[in-house]
């Protein structure tokens, strides 16, 4: 019958192409061609092995019982996936997909909403507020930075320790920045000295402007800039933080 179509077709193809060097290849191609033809014919036969739901006598309770019994019995061949099992997998997968989507939505929902740079802005500091070279730094609390002045020039250093976010303090006696939380130490210019901090202190971009607001320098790139003559004030961009250099 239908089941034998495949092998028969292969046999025939094998005979026809027996001389050809690519006999095996041709045979396999023919099998693939013949297989789809076998399927529609095979399906009713497989269905006939088990009583189709439609074939059950509807309404008759005693007659339905044996059918139920048959279903409850362990399946004769555990190899195949039944339609019910397959649909349960599909159903489970769709639920998993839904949960994944829900998780994704929850993530975006829980993410705080703010715009890039919302917490920063241009803060203007008078040039006269800077300390003399190598003198103790001057804090600027609204911008959370230190005004420092070293031999290399002036800089604006972010007040937060690069280790775990504590506010480090200036130690007058030792002339260093020291963090009270885990003991990291930094020089006046922000260079790492000791402790668990991974990098130098972070700094903000700044530029020097004169009394009429003309820029005397470019925006800084993290390194100190010598104070130019005629400087009136310094514009500090607290939205642009430059990470300190890693000492690793």
């Amino acid at each position: 019958m239908a089941e034998t179509t495949g092998p028969q077709a292969a046999d025939e193809a094998g005979k026809v192409a027996s001389d050809a060097a690519n006999a095996a290849k041709a045979a396999s191609q023919n099998v693939q061609k013949a297989a789809p033809a076998a399927k529609p014919a095979g399906a009713p036969a497989a269905g006939a092995a088990r009583p189709a739901p439609a074939a059950r006598p509807a309404g008759a309770a005693p007659a339905a019982k044996p059918a139920a019994k048959e279903e409850a019995a362990p399946p004769a061949s555990p190899k195949g996936v039944t339609r019910r099992e397959f649909l349960n997998y599909v159903w489970g997968a769709s639920m998993a997909l839904f949960l994944a989507q829900f998780g994704g939505i929850t993530f975006f929902f829980a993410m705080p909403r703010f715009r890039e740079g919302e917490f920063g802005g241009i803060i203007r500091v008078r040039a006269a507020d800077f300390p003399q070279a190598n003198q103790p730094p001057v804090p600027n609390n609204p911008g959370k930075f230190w005004l420092v002045n070293t031999d290399a020039g002036i800089n604006t250093i972010y007040k937060i320790c690069t280790h775990l976010g504590c506010i480090y303090a200036w130690s007058d006696a030792a002339g260093i920045f020291a963090c009270p939380c885990h003991g990291s130490q930094f020089k006046l210019d922000g260079t790492y000295i000791a402790g668990p901090a991974p990098r130098n202190l972070d700094s903000f971009r700044f530029r020097v402007v004169d009394a009429s607001g003309n820029a005397l320098t470019d925006w800084s790139n993290g390194t100190a800039i010598p104070m130019p003559s005629g400087a009136d004030s310094i514009e500090v961009n607290t939205g642009a933080k430059i990470l300190g250099k890693s000492h690793f």
């Binding site: 705080p112 917490f119 775990l164 504590c166 506010i167 939380c181 885990h182 003991g183 402790g195 690793f248």
Partner: protein, 563 residues
């Protein structure tokens, strides 16, 4: 309705009004107890032996509250050893935290503008508010201790072994929940302690490679801790973690009912588990023996913690209002996270190597693997030390629960505990004694100030009662003569502390200069307000004259001392 009426009428006719009412009441009572009539309960209370079949098993099989408890214990586990009742005690403390927590929730709003005011209100204005807060705080810390001891006990008696591996696993989940519950509650008072402990905690999350910044944003609700972060931590504290806790307590309890309490190791053969196969003569029924015992235990536990709060416990601290611009000196994690703070202080990937070599190794790891010491010790090793606890029952190949067969595992446990204790020492600002590892300190003059007038909390200057202060500027020396013995005592204490710092260098090799001298100035600001200023003159590292000054205000009714 009519049928009920007919039945009632028939019963009234046959037995009379009094008996009918009594019988109906007893029916209702039996429903409430899931199967025990009033006479059954009386026989429980009298301690009568149970009837056969034992009606006292019914609440275990039919009721909710008793079905999470076993119907009987082996008599060997009813003594204090081997359980010490620590599991029960953990659950009791969890209950205590829920009750006191709900009380505190009534008077608390999770917003930075009002949270601290709410705390002051709870402490000063709400009847029993301070008592409830102290109970909540002491209960939380007690719970961390008890849960840890419970785990330690389970480890020592080998009770995590087959078939109780998963019970142990859920127990470690509960340990983590306990720690997170405690830590998430830290932020709520919105004081300095809260703000900086949680800033450090979330900064650690930030250091997780890849997803760290996202986790940090989810936790803080903004780049910095503020209104969003406070609300989120509040919700973690009152909703998420308690929910996870309750779910896992239920699983944990179910497993205890399923497998019973493990017997003392010496009572069983190796690899055996006889906790549910108890001979009738060895059984102790839950009702009434265990039940009354546990009620007594609960009563004593609650009495002890309530008395502790009233007597020796000085009260849960409330520091100054959170200030994002100042990190106080000696900022520390909660004590149960000292070990983690100690780990975070390790500056190199491989400690104890000479500095140059250690730095080269750090560079290799950072450049080749992208791994810095902070990430390695804080984010990988720290959580791994908890993570290893989860898999202990699954990697321990030894079937024996007997102490003498488990020398290796007990040794590993001892080493683990010693490491935690060592790291905890390193986590404190004073660091590890002798080696000085973990020491975090300002320069010596500032440390004198921190000792006598700490940034947060009460120091000796606060502790001296208001009326013992003598107005004027007093030189700090060995023989002060202010006219008040207590005041002289304080000055001598400052003098001795300074002399000590002149001769003994701190772990970073710093000494107070030999010529350092100090004054203590007491200034009357108002009739009942004084300002105490400590001024230390010394020579700094560069040989220049320097001055350190620290002051504090004391009000007649500040209440720092028991005057």
């Amino acid at each position: 309705m009519a049928i009920i009426g007919q039945k009632l009428a028939k019963q009234l006719k046959t037995t009379g009004v009094k008996a009918t009412v009594a019988q109906r009441l007893d029916d209702g009572f039996t429903r409430l107890t899931s199967g025990l009539s009033w006479n059954d309960v009386r026989s429980v209370l009298r301690g009568d032996p149970p009837a056969k079949p034992n009606p006292r098993v019914k609440p275990h099989t039919e009721g909710f509250w008793f079905h999470i408890r076993p119907t009987f214990y082996h008599e060997a586990v009813t003594a204090l050893y081997p359980t010490f009742r620590l599991g029960l005690l953990s659950a009791l403390f969890f209950t205590l935290e829920i009750i006191t927590g709900i009380f505190l929730m009534i008077f608390y709003t999770p917003a930075p503008t009002i949270a601290y005011v709410n705390m002051i209100d709870i402490l000063t204005n709400v009847p029993f508010g301070k008592f409830m807060r102290d109970l909540h705080r002491l209960g939380a810390e007690g719970m961390v201790i008890i849960v840890t001891l419970h785990m330690l006990r389970t480890f020592l008696t080998g009770s995590y072994k087959k078939p109780r591996q998963f019970t142990w696993f859920t127990g470690v989940v509960l340990l983590v929940v306990t720690l997170f519950l405690s830590f998430s509650g830290y932020l709520l008072p919105w004081d300095q302690l809260a703000f900086w402990a949680v800033t450090i905690g979330t900064s650690m999350a930030d250091a997780v490679p890849g997803i760290g910044p996202q986790i940090n944003l989810l936790l803080r609700g903004a780049p910095d801790i503020g209104a969003g972060g406070l609300l989120r931590f509040y919700l973690f504290h009152v909703v998420l973690f308690p929910l996870i806790g309750i779910i896992f307590v239920a699983v944990h309890y179910y497993k205890v009912v399923r497998w019973g309490l493990s017997l003392p190791p010496e009572l069983e053969g190796i690899g055996e588990d006889n906790a549910r196969k108890v001979a009738p003569d060895k059984r102790v029924n839950f009702m009434p023996d265990i039940l009354t015992n546990e009620l007594m235990y609960a009563g004593v536990a609650f009495a002890i913690i309530a008395l502790s709060v009233i007597t020796w416990y000085g009260g849960a601290p409330l520091e100054h209002h959170a200030d994002p611009l100042v990190t106080p000196n000696h900022t520390v994690a909660p004590w149960y996270f000292y070990w983690l703070q100690g780990l975070l202080k390790i500056p190199h990937m491989i400690p104890l190597l000479p500095g140059g070599i250690a730095s080269e190794i750090d560079k290799f790891f950072a450049n080749v693997l992208g791994l810095t010491p902070k990430v390695f010790w804080g984010v990988i090793i720290g959580p791994a030390m908890i993570g290893i606890l989860f898999i202990v029952p699954y990697i321990d190949p030894n079937p024996s629960r007997r102490y003498k067969d488990r020398k290796v595992m007990l040794g590993i446990g001892g080493i683990f505990t010693a490491i935690i204790l060592y790291l905890s020492l390193a986590g404190m600002p004073t660091g590890v004694p002798f080696t000085g590892f973990g020491f975090v300190g300002a320069d010596p003059a500032a440390e004198v100030g921190q000792h006598f007038i700490p940034d947060e909390g009460v120091g000796p200057v606060h502790a001296l009662p208001f009326h013992q202060y003598v107005v004027g500027t007093h030189t700090v020396n060995a023989a002060p003569n202010t006219g008040n013995a207590s005041m002289d005592g304080l000055i001598r204490e400052i003098h001795n502390d300074m002399e000590n710092r002149k001769t003994n260098a701190d772990p970073l090799g710093r000494k107070l200069s030999a010529d350092a001298n100090a004054t203590l100035d007491v200034h009357q600001v108002q009739e009942n307000l004084i300002r105490v200023t400590l001024t230390i003159n010394y020579t700094d590292d560069k040989g220049a004259a320097a001055q350190f000054q620290k002051l504090t205000y004391l009000h007649e009714q500040s209440g720092y001392s028991a005057e």
